[in-house]
């Protein structure tokens, strides 16, 4: 016990020593350091400029928007744009944006749940079984993700019209699997592989059966990874523009597509549009920050563990 505490104190002292050592830096290093911060801060400002600008437009009165001297701060604020966005069927522009958000929700939630239900078993098989075509199966799911979308969407448009899936939530949830299914299969494969085989084997030795082992031993261990994957699928599905643009119409289109409808024949309604944009992106950005620990792994479909 005592030696352990001593050990900790010693390593602290060592660390302090190292820090003192690091403090000795040449002027050239200091300039380089300052430049690093300047570049990174400049890039961060570039990153948030469009988001901040949109936020100002969402709270600006019309006279502050349609001006030659736009202000980034110190402008008169109004809630008119938000009232218009939340007006529902009574909207002046004619865009029932609350309904559009509802559409996004009814497309996103089933598409994520379906991807988990279909993809988790495949991921488990890829992680735990050895078979000849394993690499090919992996490449196949990756190619789904890489497929030129129009190659699939134009025929699907024809097919959906025939089998009455055009303009439906079900049809959207199904086509969304082109993106969400590869995400689940390839990312979850990595998470399953992270679990030592021994845990599973010892459960089996204790007499547990296959499905039971999966539900009670394996699944709880991958829950954090699964949640991160589900959130990433939510973001991709929510953000998807093309599928809804081509496979739904009118009132059934998702928020990301309906946003562009604030471009009317008489001009662009920047104020309400900006409020609608904020309403659409803020939940997604919060989700993204929540899973940022897993983001590298997710975005490379499991290739870089991050």
């Amino acid at each position: 016990m005592d030696t352990a505490i001593e050990g900790v104190v010693l390593s602290d002292a060592e660390r302090a020593g190292l820090e003192i050592h690091k403090e000795v830096v040449s002027p050239a290093d200091r300039v380089g350091k300052a430049l690093t911060y300047v570049v990174l801060i400049a890039y961060s400002l570039f990153s948030i400029l469009p988001i901040y600008w949109t936020a100002t437009l969402a709270f600006k009165a019309e006279s502050e928007i349609y001006t030659k001297t736009p202000k980034l701060w110190g402008f008169a604020t109004t809630m008119d744009n938000w009232r218009e966005v939340f007006a529902g069927p009574a909207s002046i522009v004619g865009v029932d944006f609350v309904h559009a958000i509802r559409n996004s929700f009814f497309v996103t939630v089933p598409s994520v749940l379906l991807a988990l239900a279909l993809g988790m078993p495949v991921a488990y098989v890829l992680a735990r079984y050895n078979f000849k075509a394993k690499g090919d199966v992996h490449f196949f799911y990756l190619s789904l993700y890489f497929m030129p979308p129009l190659l699939i969407l134009i025929p699907l448009f024809v097919l959906y019209n025939k089998i009455h899936l055009y303009n439906t939530y079900l049809g959207m949830a199904l086509v969304m699997q082109l993106i969400t299914l590869p995400l689940v299969v390839l990312i979850m494969r990595g998470f399953f592989e992270d679990i030592p085989v021994e845990i599973e084997q010892s459960a089996r030795v204790d007499g547990a059966r296959g499905p039971w082992v999966f539900w009670r031993i394996i699944l709880p261990l991958v829950v954090p990874g699964m949640m991160a994957t589900a959130f990433l699928c939510t973001i991709f599905s929510w953000n998807n523009y093309l599928f809804s643009y081509l496979l739904t119409s009118g009132e059934n289109q998702t928020a990301v597509v309906r946003i562009t409808l604030y471009r009317t024949f008489t001009g662009i309604m920047w104020g309400p549009m900006s409020a609608a944009i904020l309403l659409t992106i803020v939940p997604v950005l919060l989700l993204a920050i929540a899973i940022q620990k897993y983001i590298v792994r997710g975005l490379t479909l499991g290739a870089v563990k991050g």
């Binding site: 690093t36 990174l40 890039y43 961060s44 990153s47 948030i48 469009p50 988001i51 600008w53 437009l57 349609y66 030659k68 736009p70 279909l118 993809g119 488990y124 098989v125 992996h138 497929m147 030129p148 979308p149 129009l150 190659l151 699939i152 969407l153 134009i154 024809v158 097919l159 199904l174 699997q177 299914l181 299969v185 296959g210 973001i235 929510w238 953000n239 523009y241 093309l242 081509l246 990301v256 597509v257 946003i259 562009t260 662009i268 920047w270 549009m273 900006s274 944009i277 659409t280 992106i281 997604v284 950005l285 993204a288 590298v296 975005l299 490379t300 290739a303 870089v304 563990k305 991050g306």
Partner: protein, 292 residues
């Protein structure tokens, strides 16, 4: 145990994968086969009858000015966007890899554009770049620069959409390469230091070779997804002004939906399919190690 149960157990992997396979058949394999077939017919969007014309559509597009123009725009767009994204992203990753205070805050701020829907991001930039009410031209005017109408000027439209692409996807390159940099074993750097290598030598002999698989991986993702890109152009310029931003994937949709030539649109998409397949096969072999 009955033979049935035994056989069932032997086929557990197949059974587990079956529902997913059935769905993929419906939403991907069938449409792709259909596209292959229609690309050899004179199918129109609004008619059910069609004639089989073998490679007529391919001959047609390969000899058309419109197709080669779209190829040219796509090549320029992809080369510029992916080139800038790789360089800028690599630079940012190197900067963020050093001893840095507030790295996690920078990571979050840089992550944000990547998580925006590109279609929405394009709208946001359209308002920032608007010549009459946008902030960018106003700010440039303050320092004495009369800026063009970025997205509607035929001289700047392509560069502007490239810029929007760069805004969205440089973070992808930066974050993945940063993760790659941070997974290089410290020991290798220490060995190089003991051997008296200077900063450039360390970069060339340790960092770069170790990072190569990750660089190829990022390149694979960016090349393919940039070639497939559609949203930004459809929202920001609709392929215009004129046809200066009409990329292959935009031209494919115009051919299919506006001109209703399903057969020709099929030929466009099949051509893109082979381009993407070629690139991913080439690069996938270099990066398989990362997955397996």
């Amino acid at each position: 145990m009955t033979t049935f149960m035994k056989r069932l157990q032997a086929n557990v992997p197949t059974l587990l994968a079956l529902p997913s396979i059935i769905l993929v058949m419906m939403i991907a394999i069938y449409p792709i086969l259909y596209a292959f077939y229609t690309s050899m017919t004179d199918q129109l969007l609004n008619q059910s009858k069609s004639n089989f014309i073998w490679f007529g559509n391919y001959v047609n597009i390969f000899t058309s000015r419109v197709f080669w123009h779209a190829v040219g725009v796509s090549v320029k767009y992809v080369a510029l966007a992916v080139g800038i994204e790789m360089l800028l992203g690599f630079g940012l990753a190197l900067l963020m890899n050093g001893a840095l205070r507030g790295r996690s805050l920078f990571r979050i701020l840089i992550l944000l554009p990547l998580m925006l829907p590109p279609a929405t991001g394009a709208m946001m930039w359209a308002s920032l770049l608007d010549p009459s009410l946008g902030w960018v031209n106003y700010a440039l005017l303050q320092i004495g620069i009369h800026a063009p109408a970025w997205l509607s000027d035929s001289g700047t439209a392509l560069y502007s959409v490239v810029g929007i692409d760069v805004y969205h996807f440089t973070p992808f390159v930066a974050l993945i390469l940063l993760a790659g940099l941070q997974s290089i074993p410290r020991l290798q750097y220490e060995v190089a230091e003991v051997d008296g290598a200077n900063a450039w030598q360390v970069f060339r002999l340790v960092t770069l070779p170790q990072l190569m698989p990750t660089i190829f991986l990022v390149l694979l993702f960016r090349l393919v997804l940039c070639i497939n890109g559609y949203d930004v152009i459809n929202v920001a310029t609709k392929g215009g002004p004129g046809d200066v931003t009409t990329t292959l994937s935009f031209q494919a949709s115009v051919t299919g939906y506006r001109n209703m030539l399903l057969g020709q649109a099929g030929a466009y998409s099949i051509f893109m399919f082979f381009v993407v397949l070629f690139i991913s096969k080439k690069l996938f072999n270099r990066v398989t190690r990362s997955w397996i």
